[in-house]
């Protein structure tokens, strides 16, 4: 599962969705892999406004990546800063969690990731 995808995910439990603690989910025991994806500055610029930047900063830190700036870079920033472009591309588009868990900060439920696929099916008592 890509780091980008994680930015769109929250806990599958209905009663968790109203809690700010359920987003972002927290990776645990994460094994990472890196895809080789051609860099596409335009796509990155289009995607950035669709992200929750604060959640991405949290995820980046939790996965051991360098801390991100307080504010998302503008398209101009990205053009001017090749290193920033490269780092964001690598984090969002290329980095995958292959094995591990995603933990909800509200209910504590752990969702398994195996073979790069996260499983959000809930046990019946949580549905």
């Amino acid at each position: 599962m890509k780091v980008l995808t994680l930015n769109f995910l929250t806990c599958a439990v209905k009663s968790c969705k109203s809690s700010s603690d359920s987003f972002p989910l927290h990776p645990k025991d994460a094994e990472l892999a890196k895809d080789d994806v051609e860099i596409n500055p335009q796509l990155l610029a289009n995607v950035l406004p669709r992200l929750d930047w604060n959640a991405l900063r949290t995820t980046s830190t939790e996965l051991g990546f360098p801390s991100l700036p307080d504010q998302p870079p503008s398209p101009e920033d990205l053009t001017a800063d090749e290193k920033m472009l490269q780092e964001l591309h690598s984090l969002l588009m290329e980095t995958q969690i292959m094995e591990g868990k995603l933990v909800c900060g509200h209910c504590g439920h752990e969702y398994a990731i195996r073979e790069g696929i996260a499983n959000f099916l809930l046990p019946s008592h949580l549905v």
Partner: protein, 350 residues
């Protein structure tokens, strides 16, 4: 029955909600158990065979996907083998499905690196590959997702989730599609809840954004040979034969054994309502050879539950789920609707 105006549909839903009792929770549990047997279990069992017969996108779905601006992020809820994930390579698709076996197939189509691991998964992947090699040239062309050029398809992703408990945050994405999925839910409340979930995940309605495409099998199939049409039974068990060289017969049964099985005197094929090939064109598709070795005794038959939508019913369900209709139509035995979130005041209390 004429389509209900939205206010009365909303009132009806409010009344239903108010009447929620322990008995209804029991009914919900029963519905879940029923779908586990007659939907989820079946797709897990037939995944590679099913996948091998699913290549061509429905035209209305392809049109909808191509209308999304570059860089948009969209959901494909019930993505199956992921055939829609690469239709518009300029958008990023997040696919989810209830079946882990189908999600594994979808992921392998995305061309993600294999990390040699659990044997079962590797096996499914190799079956998918052999199915692709035996496909006709047109099918083969459509069977892999183009991931080159660093487009959105290269970063599309898949995960396992239930459509009634989607793990996406509110208003997370620009659009969503849900093709041939909602007709597998066995109560109207659950079908409407599935639509409500889709609407929850998309952004508020804006010029061309925040749209949800829902596509379901129609009751009115006068032009097909399945024998179903207006006025007929809407809740059916439709057989899937794991070796479709055998001429399958359409069996029509009411749910929960309320009526005895009635054979429909027309041939039915495993294409179901989900692929735009004709009944005859689907015979002898690549899945057959791939599963021939598995079916050593008699060919296993799996029965999938379907609710066939009558004219106007899908629109009623969208309204009851708090949505508004943007456009709707009929395409080759299916009803479809493009919906968006209604104004907050039109949403039923919950």
């Amino acid at each position: 029955m004429a389509a209900l105006p939205s206010s009365s549909a909303a009132t009806a839903v409010a009344r239903l909600n108010a009447a929620a009792t322990a008995a209804q929770r029991d009914a919900e549990t029963e519905a879940e158990a029923y779908e586990r047997t007659h939907v989820h279990g079946v797709y897990q069992a037939i995944a590679p065979h099913f996948s091998a017969t699913r290549h061509k996108p429905w035209p209305a779905v392809a049109l909808f996907l191509h209308a999304q601006p570059p860089g948009s992020v969209g959901l494909d809820v019930g993505c199956g083998n992921g055939k829609y994930l690469g239709v518009n390579p300029a958008v990023i698709m997040l696919g989810s499905d209830r079946s882990p076996a189908l999600v594994a197939l979808a992921r392998s189509r995305l061309g993600r690196p294999d990390d040699a691991g659990i044997q079962g998964v590797t096996k499914i992947r190799s079956e998918a590959r052999s199915a692709a090699t035996t496909a006709t040239s047109t099918d083969a062309a459509g069977s892999a997702v183009s991931t080159g050029q660093g487009g959105g398809a290269a970063i599309s992703d898949v995960l396992v989730a239930d459509g009634l408990s989607l793990p996406f945050r509110d208003a997370a994405v620009d659009f969503a599609i849900c093709v041939a999925v909602i007709h597998h839910l066995s109560t109207r409340a659950r079908r409407q809840d599935a639509i409500r979930q889709l609407l929850r995940c998309v952004k508020p309605r804006e010029a061309g954004s925040g749209q949800v495409l829902v596509y379901v099998w129609a009751l009115e199939q006068g032009a097909s040979r399945r024998g179903w049409d207006e006025g007929g039974e809407q809740d059916l068990l439709v057989p899937w034969v794991l070796k479709s060289q055998t001429q399958a017969r359409a069996q029509k049964e009411c749910r929960h054994g309320q009526a005895t099985s009635k054979d429909v005197n027309t041939a039915v094929t495993n294409t179901g309502g989900e692929t735009p090939s004709t009944a005859t064109a689907s015979a002898g598709e690549p899945g057959d050879t791939q599963t021939a070795g598995v079916a050593s005794q008699t060919d296993p038959v799996f029965k999938r539950y379907y609710h066939l939508y009558r004219k106007g019913e899908l629109e009623e369900d969208v309204l009851a789920a708090g949505g508004v209709i943007i456009t709707s139509g009929y395409e080759r035995d299916n009803w479809w609707v493009v919906a968006a979130n209604g104004t907050p005041s039109s949403r039923p209390e919950q």
